[in-house]
Symmetry: C2
């Protein structure tokens, strides 16, 4: 294996191995860590800094587009560090021939999403490549946030912690797959892409002792939970019946041969905090439209460090392995 | 004209019009300004924040590669704001099938360039797209810096100011064009891509009253000077004979039908400061290998605001218009 494969970008084991081999080895522990945002000290303040490239295809899909997604994704990554999102940069790579109306529609979507996220787009760049050298439009955002609660990290999970999920899983990935394959989904299946500022900041401002957060994008909640279990050296267990899945999404996932726990979400958060604070967190979450279906889905349990297991409706447990393979290319 | 053209990414008039139409209209004066870096106030400190996408073809060229270029470009943009570069983010868009050895070579180049620039790569992202959906590798960097001297802006040029250029022009663009067309250049023509931290920080630390800086990338010094003249509402004049151009670069530019003043540089800076401080600035510049050929090339002169003119060797003056047209696609 000496070439880049689609699986290297899918958010699963192969991507982790590539990052380990090419980047972590080089930039060292002070550089790329396991978290989605870096933390910097700047003038006595703790600042979160993060970036993501967006290559989703198609660029418009039910419930969203690549522009709003690029804003939401980076805002949500800042939130995982316990940060209030402040400013975004936006870089476009445009294919020659892209209709200007498309670009304007994306710019409008980014503006609206930024306003909803309470963040400002402050700087940008535009490159154009000849026809065929890129597919329509790629957008890379980077974000800056002010850390309100230091120490929130995938490595912060402890015994006694509960696992909360802010809503249903699989919506984004299934919506994009159906749109890509021209399988009409009606209006039942829409991407959940949204910035979660209004969902997460109240938890932090209320002083809840959030230990870890992860937005379950590529690789779904399977990837997010496995990353945190591994980083923290704990065993996590979730109850299958507690994870909300819309019936249409469940049916489409099965038809497409996907494990819905591995499917990308773009407007959800996995929140881990002491079990004693779970009820308070849920009460706050239920006040916001984007987290009305928030639920306690699991907890840290005794077991091998780094393991994630699922308690089924029958009361048995099965392993939830980190995703591997191609999963869904160009899902975000 | 309702589609994106190559000229929209070329750094000239068409790009300015696109940014004006699609982005500035939307994100407003608090968003995109004329400068390459945004300025933010964060915990009482002034911070510079910038981003650039890199799509250069070929990805390896004499004197550099897309990895080192992506680091240098963003570092130099931070410097234009009078900032000490602190941290970079890096996002890769990889084409399926890219040799891993290529990616490792680029990662190594980025690491070396970051070390030379005194900046840390702290966070990143990797996406993979199917074969044919991108051309090998695109890299987007964003950067954070701490502003040492506030108020440096393309809008800061005043009467009585001198224009300094840190070295020869045209090297990067011509080197890339020759490499792309498989025209061997021997070792005479190499890209100047380099981070200018060691060139610019001493000027700021010495307390020189730098008013404006611009790294003359896409569109060359013609674009950089026109942008600053327009932003500041002044007339700039440069002396043609004072602008260093390597003979091989001059010859190749002419053969390629290029105006060398419009050709991209990736390791040069245009510095504008009071004429009375020009000698002190040059003395500092001449101590650093990357600015040994630094020269006073011009000044603010009486004339129409926004105009840039060139005094020829014959003593006549001609207009130096902002570049327009396709220029050199995928030069950075």
């Amino acid at each position: 294996m000496d070439r880049v494969l689609l699986s290297h970008g899918a958010g699963g084991r192969e991507m982790a191995a590539l990052i380990e081999q090419v980047f972590l080895a080089r930039y060292g522990p002070a550089g790329f860590r396991g978290d989605d945002s870096a933390r910097l000290s700047l003038g006595g303040r703790e600042v979160a800094f993060t970036t993501d490239a967006f290559v989703v295809s198609p660029i418009f899909f039910p419930g969203g587009d690549i522009g709003g997604l690029a804003v939401s994704g980076t805002v949500n990554d800042l939130l995982t560090a316990g940060a209030r999102p402040l400013a975004l940069s936006v870089s476009f790579i445009l294919e020659e021939g892209l209709p200007l109306a498309t670009l304007e529609r994306l710019a409008r979507s980014m503006q609206e999403t930024a306003a909803a996220a309470g963040v400002e787009i402050v700087t940008g760049d535009t490159k154009v490549v000849p026809r065929g050298a890129a597919d329509q439009v790629f957008i890379t955002t980077a974000g800056l946030g002010e850390i309100l609660r230091p120490g929130i990290s995938g490595a912060g999970v402890r015994p006694g912690d509960a696992v909360i999920l802010t809503g249903s899983v699989g919506d984004h990935g299934v919506a994009v797959m159906l749109a890509r394959e021209n399988l009409l989904s009606g209006r039942e299946i829409m991407s959940d892409a949204a910035p979660l500022t209004g969902v997460i900041l109240p938890l932090l401002e209320a002083g809840l002792e959030v230990h870890a957060m992860r937005d379950p994008t590529r690789g779904g909640i399977a990837a997010a939970l496995n990353e945190m279990a591994r980083q923290s050296g704990v065993c996590l267990e979730i109850a299958e019946a507690q994870v909300p899945v819309r019936p249409a999404v469940a049916a489409a996932s099965e038809a497409l041969g996907l494990d819905v726990f591995q499917v990308a979400n773009e407007g959800k958060m996995v929140i881990i905090l002491p079990e004693s604070q779970a009820a308070a967190a849920l009460a706050l979450l239920h006040r916001h439209p984007l987290s009305r279906e928030g639920r306690l889905i699991g907890a840290v349990v005794p077991g091998p460090p780094g393991r994630v297991q699922v308690r089924t409706a029958l009361g048995t447990t099965r392993l939830l392995p980190p995703p591997s393979g191609e999963l869904l290319p160009r899902i975000c």
